[in-house]
């Protein structure tokens, strides 16, 4: 195929795509900057207004105290409200003191927080990001190219002064590969345990999370390794992999730990193991809470809504929170729902409750206590208009195509995209653009697009080369709004002259007039021209 023909079919659409992409990014950047500027302006205005508000009454202060208190339980089920006094602007007053109220709002105790006379139940918690646990996002960051190339997860085995082995995680093979310090390969640690041959490796599975600690008798880290369906405990010193949990039907959503790490008293995150049983709670996507307990070993399953769990030497407890209204949707993901929510619930107080259960050995729940309170209506604090107005204004210039794509792909698709983006996936973060910047006011957006289409019609009609291409550009600008218009202008700058035959403007992209088919005007010959064919 001739180069010109090949380029006609490949390079033409490619050029349009390239130009659209660049202009789209530029327009999106301008939109984001404009939105942030308006948001900042609105926030400053809001803060100024708040400062000039009258001081709160005693009753208002009491309600706010209840709202800001944490609700704690004693092992016998008694509820206490723990409150740290704050300034008018919500900051905690130093030195830190605590006030403990009972369920009837009577002050029981006040003093420094480390000297309180009660010991409340502590709950299994998710390993916190980065310092305590390694998440898929961090795993991905180790595998990005820039700026420092790929990093590795390496577990040293030996002593601090004399490392003997290194176990390096291989993301592709989903296993650990061991090297002796002289560079010789020792073997692999995988779901199948230790093996000296690659063929015996059984991959651990898609990585979800790991947390590490040194047991009381060793300086070498032990890992709790979570994959989609499995939880392993890996001991590199003993080269052992222990399968703690396997979910047959559903992926693991999250894990929480309590006294699992076998830490020394006085060290970070230590929980008194004489009072508490080591507990690992694994919540699968079907909503089931799988309790893995030690000392003695025991496994339980709790169905039903999300709860916090703990296990003392005496009993196992579950804690559930409830609310009388639907939760506040995020303005970023769904401005419409957010606005709807604000309009419906801004002036309505919310009923809230906390329930403490005792878990029986067969997984049954027995209600021990329940605490109810009312959250005041958000009222004027729920700012909606400036932010929404900013988004509404800026998205007037977004491509109407965004709305179509958003509707076409459905909410489930976008929530998946949102979830992946939250896990640090750059690709999905970019994919969120149509969701965030889709036009909120469709009418204005389409009117603007129509105006731009009109301009393209006026500008492009004399310059057209073919009707098909002309129609393509008009529709293109209609679907992409200002991005489309800029793309059109960038790719279609044809000179125009006035046709001497019909008097109308005509482009020079083709030799004959698009209106009357007249050729380009030839210069008038002079009588004195000396043009002779014969010569030489």
């Amino acid at each position: 195929m001739e180069l010109k023909n090949a380029s006609k079919y490949i390079a033409g659409p490619g050029r349009v795509f390239m130009t659209v992409l660049i202009i789209l990014i530029a327009v999106t950047a301008v939109q984001a900057i404009a939105m942030e500027a308006i948001r900042m302006f609105a926030f400053t205005k809001h803060t100024t207004e708040r400062k000039s508000e009258p001081p709160r009454s005693d009753e208002e202060k009491r309600i706010q105290r209840i709202r800001q208190s944490s609700r704690q339980f004693l092992p016998d089920g008694t509820t206490h409200l723990i409150y740290e006094p704050r300034t008018e602007r919500g900051r905690i007053i130093e030195p830190r003191t605590e006030q403990i109220y009972d369920a009837n709002d009577h002050l029981l105790w006040e003093g420094p927080s480390d000297k309180k006379p009660y010991e409340y139940l502590s709950w299994a918690e998710e390993p916190r990001n980065y310092s305590e646990a390694f998440t898929p996002m961090q795993m991905r960051l180790t595998q990005t190219f820039a700026p420092l190339l790929a990093r590795t997860i390496e577990i040293p085995v030996g002593t601090i002064n004399n490392t003997e082995q290194i176990w390096r995680y291989r993301p592709g093979a989903e296993c650990f590969e061991g090297y002796a310090i002289d560079g010789q390969r020792i073997g692999y640690i995988s779901a199948a345990g230790f093996s000296d041959s690659k063929s015996k490796v059984k991959p651990l599975g898609a990585f979800r999370l790991f947390t590490a600690w040194c047991p009381q008798d060793s300086s070498i880290p032990t890992l709790l390794w979570q994959t989609n369906r499995h939880i392993y405990q890996i001991n590199f010193e003993k080269r052992q992999t222990k399968l703690l949990f396997e979910s047959a039907n559903s992926d693991i959503e999250t894990i929480t730990l309590h006294a699992w790490k076998d830490l020394k008293p006085g060290t970070k995150d230590y929980i008194d193991s004489k009072k508490y049983r080591p507990l690992l709670v694994c919540i699968t996507q079907d909503g089931v809470h799988h309790l893995i307990l030690r000392e003695p070993d025991q496994q339980l399953s709790l169905p039903g809504p999300r709860c916090s769990v703990t296990a003392t030497r005496q009993s196992i407890y579950a804690l559930r929170h409830g609310s009388g209204t639907v939760p506040v949707p995020s303005i970023a993901t769904s401005p419409e729902l957010y606005k709807e929510w604000v309009e419906q619930y801004r002036d309505k107080p919310r009923k809230m409750w906390t329930e403490l259960y005792k878990v029986s050995d067969d997984g049954g729940l027995e209600l021990l206590n329940r605490y109810d309170w009312v959250m005041p209506a958000p009222g004027r604090f729920m700012q909606v208009d400036p932010m929404l107005a900013a988004q509404r204004f800026v998205t007037h210039f977004s491509p109407p195509l965004y709305s179509l794509v958003f509707r076409l792909l459905g909410r489930e698709f976008w929530s998946n995209v949102h979830r992946s983006a939250n896990q640090g996936d750059f690709f999905y973060t970019m994919l969120q653009t149509p969701q965030y910047l889709r036009p909120l006011n469709g009418t204005v957006n389409w009117v603007l697009s129509a105006l731009m289409m009109g301009f393209v019609f006026w500008y492009g009609w004399p310059r057209r080369v073919s009707h098909a291409r002309f129609i393509f550009w008009v529709v293109f600008v209609g679907l992409l709004n200002v991005t489309g218009l800029l793309t059109y202008l960038a790719l279609n700058h044809t000179a125009v002259i006035k046709c001497p035959a019909c008097g109308r403007r005509r482009g020079l992209a083709q030799s004959d007039c698009i209106h009357c088919q007249a050729p380009l005007p030839a210069p008038k010959p002079r009588e004195l021209d000396l043009i002779f064919r014969s010569c030489c």
Binding site: S7, Q138, L148, T152, R170, F210, T211, K261
Partner: protein
């Protein structure tokens, strides 16, 4: 023969820049690598992986940069820089020296001329940056220097940085050939290459990164061949 002549001429034009980039990268790379080797010989410092018994380990303390990590930014900058320079040398400078008519009026198709140019530029870039990268990686793999060899993924990542230089080269070439005015699409070639490089830099999946690079390169190449075939000189 014609291709060889064109390739030779183009390669010779790239040669000084190629050597400069290779020397800069090799000098800084060797310096960083030697510094790492002195710090870590005979073992790498894994001490932060150990914690007192009965304590929690902060997970990030178990992540380690490879000894070649410090080379990453240098490799990136040299690769991108050389891509920009070679693109400008081969496709912008002839606009100013007005040598296009002399080059194009020869008994070779424009496709051949462009292919020779691109092959020479790419070869220069790959030889300069890729060659240095391979030698530095080889050095880092010597057991007596760094004990445990750097993972193969690091080697691949290095090559992806080299390919990013190629993308920048293609983008600069496209901008050099563009007949548009500055305020329209003149710099779009470079801008597109920058976008592709940016997307790839933030990408963790090797397959996806390679797909993005392949897509970007295909688009830039198709534009280049089209522009070169239809452009006025």
């Amino acid at each position: 023969m014609k291709f060889a002549a064109l390739f030779g001429k183009e390669f010779r034009e790239c040669l000084p820049w190629m050597l400069l980039a290779a020397i800069v990268l090799l000098a800084f790379g060797s310096f960083f690598l030697r510094a790492q080797a002195y710090d870590m010989n005979p073992n790498r410092d894994w001490s932060r992986g150990y914690n007192p018994p009965g304590t929690a380990v902060e997970a990030y303390r178990l992540t380690f940069n490879s000894p070649l990590a410090m080379l990453g930014p240098w490799l990136f900058c040299c690769s991108i820089g050389l891509g920009l320079i070679l693109g400008a040398r081969q496709f912008w400078i002839p606009n100013f020296t007005r040598t296009w008519p002399f080059l194009l009026h020869r008994s070779a198709r424009r496709t051949t001329i462009l292919t020779a140019k691109l092959t020479a530029g790419s070869t220069a870039l790959v030889l300069a940056i890729g060659g240095v990268w391979v030698s530095l990686y080889w050095y880092a793999c010597q057991l007596e220097v760094f004990t445990v060899p750097p993972p193969a993924r690091v080697f691949i990542h290095g090559w992806i940085l080299v390919i990013m230089g190629l993308l920048t080269y293609l983008g600069t070439a496209l901008s050099g050939l563009s007949e548009a005015r500055w305020y329209t699409t003149k710099i779009f070639g470079i801008a597109f290459a920058v976008i592709i490089v940016g997307v790839t830099t933030g990408e963790w999946s090797l397959a996806r990164a390679l797909a993005v690079i392949a897509f970007g390169a295909a688009l830039l190449l198709s534009q280049l061949f089209d522009t070169f075939a239809t452009r006025e000189f």
